[in-house]
Every structure is written in C-alpha cells, then in structure tokens.
Amino acid sequence: MTKVVAVTGNEAVANAFRQIEPDVCAAYPITPQTELMQRFAAFVSNGQVRTEMILVESEHSALSACVGAAAAGGRVATATSSQGLALMWEILFIASGLRLPIVMPVVNRALSAPINIHCDHSDAMGARDSGWIQLWSENAQEAYDNTIQAFRIAEDMNIRLPVMICYDGFIISHSIERIEYLDDDVVKNFVGEYKPLYPLLDVENPKSYGPLILTDLYHEVRKAHSEVYKKVPKVVIEVAKEFEKISGRKYELFENYRLDDAEIGIVILNSAAGTTKDLIDEYRDRGVKVGLLKPRLYRPFPYEEVGNALKNLKVLCVLDRADAFGGSFGPLYLDIAASLCNFSQKPILINRIYGLGGRDFMPEHAAEVIEELKDIAKTGKITKLKEYIGVRE
C-alpha cells in the first residue's frame, strides 16, 4: 500500500533514508541540505533506525568518514550542498577511485562568492567529472524515487560506484508537494541486504585500500576505471524497471517529452523542466512542434541515446543553470553538443543561462526561448550562441 503525503523534498529523502537504514551516515549541515539531515538525525535519536550517525566538523571529514565506513564494509550515506560539496572535492575522487558505493543527495545551491543559499547547479556541475554517478530529479517524488534506486545502482556488483542524487535547493527541498511513499518493507526488500565487497573488517582476509600506483600502472588503473562507467546505463535501466514494478512509476536515462515529432527542442535539468513542459503543452495546442529532453542519468552521460533523441530537431536550446566562467558554454550544453557533433544531420544549437542563485525560472522565460527558437527555425539566423536570460540590463 503506498501512502500519499504532503511533504518537502528534504522530508521525502530523509524518509527514504529511514526506510533504507544505512549502517553509517556521516554528515555536516549546510543550507538547504540541513533539513534533510536534521530529520534523519531525529530518526536516529528516536531509535527509529540503528544507523551509526557521525557528526563531524566539516564536509571534508564527513565524506572521509563515509569512505572509511564504506571500505570497512558498511552501507553508507551522506548529503550536502554548495560549499559543502566543494569542500568534499578531494575526497569525491577517492570515494569513486576506491569504488565505494556511497549514496549522497546533493541539494543544489549556488557557489560563493557572492554568498547565496538558493538554487543553481554550479555545485554538482563542478563535481560532474569526479567519477560519481549523478541522477537529477525534477521534483520531490523523483528525489525520493532516485534515492531508493541509487542504493541499488551504487551497490551493483558490476558497478560499485558512489551516486549523487541532485534536486533543486528550496524550490524542491523546501516546497511541500504531494508524494507517494512506498511501504517500509517494500523499500527494504527492494534495496535488499547490503553485500560488501572487500570489507576491511573481514580481518581473516587482510587487504590494502589506496596503494601508491606510479607510472608503471596508473594509466592501466584509470583505463580499467573508465570502462566501469560503460556498464552503468544498463544497470540504471534494469533498476528502473524493477522500481516500476513496486511503484508504478517509470524511469529512463532521460525523459523524452513530446520530442518524437518535434522540430524545436529544449534540454533542461530538474525543476525548471516542469515549468517548461507546461509551456510546451500550450505551444503544442497552438500547433508548434516543440519538445523537451530532461536528463536523468547525467553522469555517466548517455551520449549515444541523447544524440539519437535530438538529432532530427531543427533547432535546440540547452538551458544551463550554471555558467562555465572563462569556458565556452554551460556544462550541459557542452555534453549535448558533444552528443550531436558526429551526426551529419543535427539541429542548430544555442545555449541560455538561467536561474542563477535561485532566480525564478518563469513560464515567460520558457516562452521567450521557444519564440527565439521559432525565429531561428524560420530564418536560420542566430543572434547569440550563449546568453543569459531573465537578467536585468
């Protein structure tokens, strides 16, 4: 029996943690993640879970403790945002390099300076090549569902990689939505009992984590590591199919929204995809062939599938909620452009930066983009490849 509740995104993810009951959770509070960990810490204090909660003095220590606990042989989770993720930077690569299946919600928030507590994607985008799998979530339901699936994906014996679940700070983390909770035992059965690989606490079989590997072997170690990511999409799809059986909710590598016969396309992540879909429906009613692609598995990025889904469009705007200062384009744009570059037939591409530091992405912004794409489709002329939208002159 699913239970329908009205909760915040953070509350939903904390409930997923309660249902999964990791062995160890080491975390440090940071807005807008704080509410999630505060709620989970309450479950620990009230004896609702037997998780070992380690309260540390920084995010660097939080993830370091998670690395130790995961190598010891435990199911491990943490969560962070913004500066906290930035402070974890060094350890992110150690967690992935050691193949430790740590699960970490990242409640997306802008980076300093200037200091800002609201949503954009610059935190998780900065960590996109750290070797963590990234699942992005449009709303609280997706954040809850992705968190449950993340444990299965991370812990798959062919993968054993850490996973971030990204969802928008405040917009999703602190807004109350209608959520369907699965039953506790259904979630527990779905994630199953934790099976450690090479646990350090198995003292009968001593082992060494993190050896020094120099010029004669490092290159081979990294090649072997890069091969693992090729196995991830298949596992993500398998886990999604099983999740559909218990939830009735369907997940794929990305959401294809009215894209199949579209001429005009938009690629956008997370909560702003919801707003954009409403506008797409309005334009479709007026006969404009517009569709949307919302990435879910952003790392590893499914280039081939994304390229095939977009190649027949005439024009395409990639909307980034993060800038790449001094670089060419926003991070999402670069991945989409790379997905399309080897097709002989491909759309004209533009990049728009929106919503930094929690600036609202309004229906009129989506409309502005669609209008511009209509013009480009008609004239073939681009005024600007990359530009900010919703910015005061």
Binding site: G97, R99, L197, S208, I213
Partner: protein, 96 residues
C-alpha cells in the same frame, strides 16, 4: 606487469603483507643510519620511532638495520639517547 583488464576493482590489494615485496630502501637518497653497538643501551627507542619498521629486534634485543626498507629519514639517530652522550646511531653518507 598486468594489463588493464586484470586490474581489481578500486585497485584494492587482496594479498596480505605484499608491501614487503617492494624494497623501498632503494628510495634512500643521501644518508643511511649506522649502529654503533658499544654505545647502545638497548632502550629500543629506535625500534619504537622508526616509521618503516626497519630496526630489527630479536629476542628483545636490538638487531641490525633492515636497509631493504630503511628510507634514511634519521629519526632513529635523532631519538637515540646513546651512552654518556655518545650516540649509538649516526647518519652516514650513502655510498653508491
């Protein structure tokens, strides 16, 4: 040397004590410790402080240095109290 297909997940090493196969003493650069037995009071501080397990002890008695793993850091020489102000460990220039 193994190829990439034989790399274990996370490069975790499952063979216990395999570090002994790598003779890190070859990294020693300029100096090596020398034990002067007549100045030794058998306090075993050198054994306690050595970061590389390179002071050998047998039957509770100070033995020779293990130059296969000694990195020549000089910690043992610094800590050694010796006898009446005469050190039982001195650092000598490495002869190649």
């Amino acid at each position: 040397m193994i190829g990439w297909k034989d790399i274990p997940p996370g490069m975790v090493i499952l063979e216990a004590g395999s570090a002994s196969k790598i003779k890190t003493g070859s990294w020693r650069a300029a100096y090596r410790p020398k034990w002067i037995e007549e100045n030794c009071i058998q306090c075993l501080l050198c054994w306690l402080f050595c970061p590389d397990n390179s002071v050998k002890v047998k039957d509770g008695k100070r033995g020779e240095f293990d130059y296969d793993y000694c990195k020549g850091c000089g910690i043992c020489a610094l800590e050694c109290p010796g006898k009446k102000g005469n050190k039982a460990i001195v650092m000598e220039e490495e002869v190649k």
